[in-house]
Symmetry: C2
Subunit: 515 residues, 2 copies
């Protein structure tokens, strides 16, 4: 159901005993953090170990596939028929209504029932966000751990998005000055591409054909997510930090990832903020000079959604009048009420997709605020109230006949689960769309959410032999990465120099502290 | 170090409290059982969960890769050099000494130091046993779960053994009338190739060229292992069952797998015993009629080693005078002293490879007999004494500079670990062979035993996307199995009819109970 975001004050209290987090946090952290590390999958030995241990502890942790009961009988024929149809219906021309679809009227009358053209745009942006996961090198045994596996020129092709109508123009790297040990994916070796930075997303631009279909030149920024709820809760979400000149404050862990830089690093001599703003500036000016309509669409899942809001805030300050929209999935709360209000004043339009059963959009505050309402009046000042931004499109696990319904912290949060549900979402109270076309199999890439009848193995997204190949002697070796896929800061610099951009940024920083 | 097997009486006592197995059993069971299910690997979410849980329980379970300390410094150059050399040195002509190599003189003076020609033969047979794991369909989401993934004609090619000089002539299937729920790998779907049987191994025959090199036509039987130590201990090893007409008794769980059959099944209208004996008879007679020297070599790892001994016993009864050798890896004890003595009288030669740190060869009896010596005099009759058979070649994890040394129940038991150690074994007290050529990477196929400096990911043996592929619509689907790789009992029957073998067996059963 689509609801205009109401004012939900949530109070963020210090954790009562830092050394003794509640048991539930351990599990949620582990779930979220590691579910993404698909290249490091171990045998299900550990799965079963966890099962044994959890039953000893009388905890219910889902480590094994259960035989489900009382499931809707699926027409097997229907499934097989689907396999032989295109995974997406043709995209319609939205050039006359793109402003509404981008939220100019706050998506009024477009969400319930969900307007088909909007649904396709949401999925398009969501697949860009998903690509930041699928292309990420999670392999701790790789010297390129934490980078993107492919260079930007072949990025979309490698990820099956060759027909998306967009081209990647720049990669973004981030680091954090805060100690966020669970955030950075780091190779186990010393001689790696970067000790401090991770690839955190990309900037892309619509090509001529797509621009014609959507009625404007669209600059996209897609932010990768990573972090686990308990991390946010434990490590990051304890403190609001001011941004801008007013009362606006945002969670300082997110801000640290967005703004940290260090001269000694290879990839973060400039912060993620500086990198992305420079590229957006270049593209916006380039196409505005040509007299084209330009939009900026920012997308991200989980942490990526949070970074996207910071990005939108900064972009709105720098490009007054530019159409700026955020399409976020499973984003936690980012800032206080003043931050939200300032975003509204700046004209940023945010469509925030949530799943009713996903705990992450309830972060921070789920434990202290929502469960324990009695703490509500302990702190009073508005500065410390986290709040959500924008218009919510709320999805429901129960709406899909293809999904398992039992508790699954990982599965309920996965972006592919979101994309499946929005693909089938017709409207509140309506049945799951029978003619939804998105490939169901994708849902189980990194989780175990599809009902057994579909016969899709869980967590199937993995490389053959973890990337090892046999050489001409029959020996299994790790091939060196294609040179053009090796991250290189000089390459980015060269590109900038060729474009005459140099290293000067000349953008207004919107952040109160030094950048 | 090679030692003639001494007489170690071990008493098998009933488990004191069946409902309360000691905690250690849970882990060892889980480790062994699931470490083989490489196609079902889940994310390391569960690994980390297990880590958290185990630390809460103050248990040390190895779920994460530790940064090791005090490791020998490896010459990295040496590793890279190795990658560019053949993985095996040329095989020498052993036609003049094959009887000694097959154990005619109980491997006297051949084991310490290990004779190079014998080493190569051990590895050859070990790789046949390893192939039974690598080709096994462990995928619970496959309708062919529990079968071999490839048909016998392309079996060796698919497993990189195309140059082994052998051809597979028949597959063997087994079932068990005993309730051994942890043994049978079974698809989660009802419409599967077989509800009762698993593929348990194969019969192969040396080709002309290899026969010339090794001085005789060699019939090989390779048995797949599966079972976990705690399974043997809990479910199987409680009871000795008589075989033959004398005092010989063997563990009844092993015997059940070897001899069970049922008219209602598709693959076990004949027992594994009957299938293998029929094929061995066919081959032995075929080549003996041609006037060739013939040998039978039986190999297997873990449970496979136990089945191999039963097979050798039965073959020796049926083919007096035939050269019969067993090369077993990590085999548990199988029968009593009378069983061992009868095998000796029948002329069966057994080379039994063990790793000092592997607990499985100490089964059954490790818990009750070796740890609790005080129980020794509770039972007295020789009928109940399990004993090992044959000549032992004892390997040691500590001898290899490439292996992690910390406790690893799975890694110490893996066949690839055995093959690595025997490849590097020179003699007791000697250094690991510097010119050992076997591919080190193989050790980590299904465990985490290689030191971090080698940069080989653990548990790397896995299919790309668990076997899912994209169809022309871009949808991810499970391809149907190549028809020629679909197991089919009629195919085997047809083959037998073509050979004029019909379905009559006409072999002497060596087992006291009905077969």
């Amino acid at each position: 159901m689509a609801t205009q975001n109401a004012n939900h004050p949530h109070f963020n209290l210090p954790v009562t005993d830092k050394n003794q987090p509640p048991i539930i946090n351990i599990f949620s952290y582990q779930d979220f953090k590691t579910a993404r590390n698909q290249h490091l999958k171990t045998s299900n030995k550990a799965t079963k170990l966890a099962g044994s241990l959890s039953s000893m502890l009388r905890l219910h942790i889902e480590t094994q596939i259960q035989k489900s009961v009382d499931r809707p009988k699926l027409n097997a024929l229907n499934i097989e028929e689907k396999q032989n149809t295109p995974a997406m219906s043709p995209k319609e021309d939205i050039s006359q209504k793109w402003r509404e679809i981008q939220g100019s009227r706050d998506w009024e009358d477009l969400l319930d029932p969900l307007q088909p053209g909007l649904r396709k745009e949401i999925i398009k942006y969501g697949e860009f966000a998903q690509a930041t996961y699928d292309a990420f090198d999670f392999d701790l045994f790789s010297e390129y751990c934490g980078s993107c596996m492919y260079n930007r020129h072949k990025f979309f092709d490698k990820l099956g998005l060759g027909k998306s109508g967009y081209n990647v123009t720049r990669y973004i790297y981030a680091m954090s000055h805060m100690d966020l040990p669970q955030w950075l994916e780091k190779s186990r070796f010393v001689d790696t591409w970067s000790k401090d930075s991770n690839w955190i997303g990309f900037v892309a631009i619509s090509d001529d054909q797509e621009s014609q279909r959507i009625g404007r030149r669209d600059v996209v920024v897609a932010w990768r997510g990573t972090v686990a709820p308990s991390e946010w809760y434990d490590n990051m979400q304890r403190k609001l930090e001011p941004i801008g000149q007013g009362q606006a404050k945002v969670e300082h862990g997110f801000l640290s990832i967005y703004t940290s830089k260090c001269d000694k690093t290879r990839y973060n001599k400039h912060s993620a903020s500086e990198q992305v703003m420079k590229e957006v500036k270049r593209l916006v000016h380039l196409y505005q000079k040509k007299g084209e309509q330009v939009s900026l669409t920012i997308t991200g899942h989980s942490l990526g959604g949070a970074l996207g809001l910071l990005n939108a805030y900064e972009a709105a300050k720098n490009f007054p009048g530019l159409s700026i929209s955020v399409v976020s999935f499973a984003s936690p709360r980012v800032g206080n009420i003043a931050f939200r209000d300032e975003l509204y004043q700046l004209g940023v339009k945010t469509l925030r997709l949530t799943i009713k059963q996903d705990v992450v959009p309830k972060m921070p505050g789920i434990v202290l605020n929502e469960s324990l309402q009695r703490f509500d009046d302990i702190t009073g000042t508005l500065e410390w109230v986290y709040t959500h931004v924008g218009v919510e499109l709320k999805l429901d696990i129960r709406s899909s006949p293809y999904l398992k319904k039992r508790l699954n912290l990982v599965g309920f949060h996965m972006l592919e689960t979101y994309l499946h549900l929005v693909d089938g979402f017709h409207g509140s109270g309506s049945e799951f769309r029978g003619n939804s076309r998105r490939d169901l199999t994708l849902v189980n890439k990194d989780c175990d959410m599809l009902i057994d009848e579909l016969r899709i193995p869980p967590n199937w997204y993995q490389l053959a032999n973890k990337g090892l190949v046999q050489n001409h002697h029959g020996r299994w070796v790790k091939p060196t990465r294609d040179p053009e896929d090796v991250p290189s800061p000089s390459m980015e610099s060269l590109q900038n120099n060729a474009l005459g951009l140099g290293d000067s940024y000349g953008l207004e920083s919107s952040f109160g502290f030094s950048t």
